[in-house]
């Protein structure tokens, strides 16, 4: 087994390329190596992967039903039976935490999937076409940027009503401006590049140029920005949950759990502390990962 990996490692490291694919894999592998050599980024990556695994395996990892209530067991401190104690309805906090991971992941991924392409399209179009389109699109972006994001998400959430999908839309509406700005900046950098002009002369339309030329070049910084944004998204989602918007009971959501735990702060400190810690760790992990990615892709920041 180790010899297999050893051989694979050597093959990837060697600079003697026999195919295009090998060259690309080589480059990717080098990036991977420098990423994992950064202990903080590695820690972040581990936590993120753990989050995904935990969410996927939630039914098997939790030992109690997250929404089963048993008022006789309410507000029990952490014990062997209930690892993180129980909440005011007698529900197991640990299991709710596990299922809450699903909620968190669901929201973050959904928002990112919406915001990434849309933000990119808006920004890249603005950068590519310039002129009036640019001015108008950037004005709109600036308008959204001028609101503090939680407040805007709050407002949209309030208008759309509670519920997890509405929360996703509300958060997405506040997160896309930085992506659009980034995409625009990147597009502007490459807009004048010779290869773009060459493609235009060959008759490529805007869509083709954007898709096949500009996207691969912008992708690294946009991915980094999206990763870093994940932490904000998680914090905003938790904030919304804290205020009663977003995922509704009985669906477990870390922010909401922290909010309801506040009433029992003095008797049952674990109700608020534990979900908050979970939010902190996951948010930190995404930040570390994003920072690590930025370090390897932008040598200036080392």
């Amino acid at each position: 087994m180790t010899t297999y990996f050893g051989n694979l490692h050597d093959w990837l490291i060697s600079e003697d390329f026999s195919s295009n694919r090998q060259a690309r894999l080589h480059k990717a592998y080098l990036l991977w190596l420098s990423l994992v050599s950064n202990p903080l980024a590695l820690a972040g990556l581990v936590v993120v992967v753990a989050l995904v695994i935990v969410s996927a395996l939630a039914p098997w990892l939790s030992n109690h039903d997250p929404i089963a209530q048993d008022l006789a067991l309410a507000l029990k401190p952490p014990s062997a039976e209930y690892w993180f104690g129980t909440d005011e309805f007698g529900r197991d906090v640990y299991s709710r935490l596990i299922y809450g991971a699903r909620t968190t992941l669901y929201i973050s991924i959904l928002v990112t999937v919406i915001v990434g392409p849309i933000g990119f399209v808006i920004g890249a179009t603005a950068g590519y076409l310039g002129g009036w389109v640019d001015v108008v699109l950037m004005r709109i972006t600036d308008i959204f940027l001028s609101f503090p994001s939680l407040v805007l998400a709050l407002a949209f959430s309030a208008a759309l009503g509670p519920g997890i999908e509405n929360a996703v839309i509300a958060i997405a509406l506040t997160v896309w401006p930085p992506i659009a700005r980034l995409a625009r900046a990147e597009t502007l950098t490459f807009r004048q590049a010779d290869f773009v002009v060459a493609a235009e002369l060959q008759g490529a339309g805007m869509r083709r140029i954007l898709l096949r030329h500009i996207v691969p070049l912008c992708a690294p910084s946009i991915i980094i920005r999206l990763t870093l944004n994940m932490s904000s998204i998680i914090l905003t989602a938790a904030g919304l949950g804290f205020l009663g918007l977003g995922a509704q009971p009985p669906m477990p959501e870390w922010g909401a759990m922290a909010a309801s735990g506040r009433q029992y702060l003095l008797e049952a400190w674990w109700l608020t502390t534990v979900p908050g810690l979970a939010i902190l760790i996951v948010s930190l992990a995404f930040n570390l990962l994003g920072d690590g990615l930025r370090d390897i892709m932008d040598p200036r920041n080392a």
């Binding site: 004005r139 709109i140 600036d142 308008i143 959204f144 940027l145 001028s146 609101f147 503090p148 994001s149 939680l150 407040v151 805007l152 709050l154 407002a155 949209f156 309030a158 208008a159 759309l160 009503g161 401006p177 930085p178 992506i179 700005r181 980034l182 900046a185 920005r225 870093l228 944004n229 932490s231 904000s232 914090l235 905003t236 938790a238 904030g239 804290f242 205020l243 009663g244 918007l245 922010g255 922290a258 909010a259 506040r262 702060l265 003095l266 400190w269 608020t272 502390t273 979900p275 908050g276 810690l277 939010i279 902190l280 948010s283 930190l284 995404f286 930040n287 570390l288 920072d291």
Partner: protein, 363 residues
């Protein structure tokens, strides 16, 4: 802390840099620039209003019923419907809306039954107090930290500062507030758990500005002043911590950029010591950038105040907003959101003006 990560302030700063440095020194050119920025602000304002208007109309609840209740008969419904102007075409409704806002009429709160604008006038200074104090704390600690971090890049000071900053950036602020209350109030009794004043001090100071700190000083009621200070300490420190995280990161990167410049070598070649180089030469070059990010931090803090005020029962705009949310009081919600948006724009405008004033390159 969520809102502060706005596409990394450096992107928007450098954009506006480009438009500034290309203008001529002529008086007319300056006027033209001013007019452009004015137009920009106007459009932003308009956009703000559009958004709040749209949000208001998106509410699934029937606004007429919200006012008259669901027991009223059809005739009353029709009458109020007409009264509220809901039968007019959308753009006319929008025009009325703008007109109202212009006259500072934000509608009526369903909960307090007051005009939203008077409610806002009442709660807004409390938030201002908190946010200003928090920004000052954040700047006082964050900027020197960032600068030292840059100068001693790579050392343990740098790593510690960056980690602390990162932590501040990832901490859910409502959780931090709750934990602080848990530890410092419940366990140690060092800070008051909530509110702005102790009960026995309430009503003692009814000043002109409604900012209790200032009013207390004006009235000479030092007991009240220190009481308020005692109450504002914890929330301001927590918010300040979040601001500090952002400010230290940005000042670090500004400083690093300056230290790369050639004029630093010149200064060294002159025989200047490091302290002078950092503070008399490099710092002067980042002064205006720092101002911009402090303004941005302030706006970003407005987010955090919403949560912190809820946690600490601080009777400000944030708490007003969240309880309005809870009771589905849309007028109040929109009014608060609009006000926060307006404050953001105002702060950005202010920092723009001071920037233009201070940077010799744009004169």
């Amino acid at each position: 802390m969520t809102a502060i990560d706005k596409g990394q302030a450096d992107v928007s700063i450098s954009q506006t840099h480009n438009s500034r440095s290309s203008a001529g020194a002529s008086w007319l050119g300056g006027l033209r620039k001013l007019a452009t920025s004015f137009a920009v602000i106007l459009t932003t304002l308009l956009g703000l209003l559009v958004i709040t208007f749209v949000i208001g109309r998106m509410v699934p609840a029937d606004p007429v019923i919200a006012v008259i209740g669901d027991q009223a008969d059809q005739a009353t419904y029709d009458r109020v419907f007409q009264q509220m102007g809901l039968d007019k075409p959308l753009y006319q409704q929008f025009a009325t809306y703008i007109g109202n806002i212009g006259q500072l009429d934000f509608g009526q709160s369903n909960v307090t039954k007051n005009a939203v604008s008077s409610d806002l006038a009442r709660v807004f200074p409390a938030t201002l107090e908190l946010a200003t104090l928090a920004t000052l704390i954040g700047a006082a600690f964050g900027i020197p930290l960032g600068i030292v971090s840059a100068v001693r890049k790579g050392t343990w000071v740098d790593h510690l500062a960056r980690f602390v900053g990162l932590l501040g950036h990832s901490t859910p602020i409502f959780w931090l507030g709750t934990i602080v209350i848990l530890i410092f109030y419940a366990k140690f009794g060092l800070i008051p758990g909530s509110g702005r004043l102790d009960v026995y001090n309430e009503g003692l100071v009814e000043g002109p500005t409604n900012s209790l700190l200032i009013d207390a000083v004006i009235a000479g009621e030092w007991g009240v002043f220190f009481d308020v200070l005692h109450h504002v300490l914890a929330p301001a420190l927590i918010l300040g911590y979040a601001a500090m995280a952002y400010l230290s990161r940005m000042s670090r990167s500004f400083m690093l950029e300056q230290l790369r410049q050639e004029y630093i070598l010149t200064a060294k070649a002159k025989g200047l010591d490091q302290h002078t180089i950092i503070w008399r030469h490099a710092f002067r070059n980042i002064r205006v950038q720092l101002l911009t990010i402090v303004a941005l931090a302030y706006c970003g803090l407005l987010d955090g105040t919403v949560l912190i005020e809820t946690v600490f029962s601080w009777p400000g705009l944030g708490q007003y907003l969240t309880s309005a949310l809870f009771f589905a009081d849309m007028n109040a919600v929109l009014g608060s959101v609009l006000l926060i948006g307006l404050i953001s724009i105002a702060i950005n405008l202010l920092s723009d003006i001071v920037y233009r004033f201070l940077d010799p390159r744009t004169r």
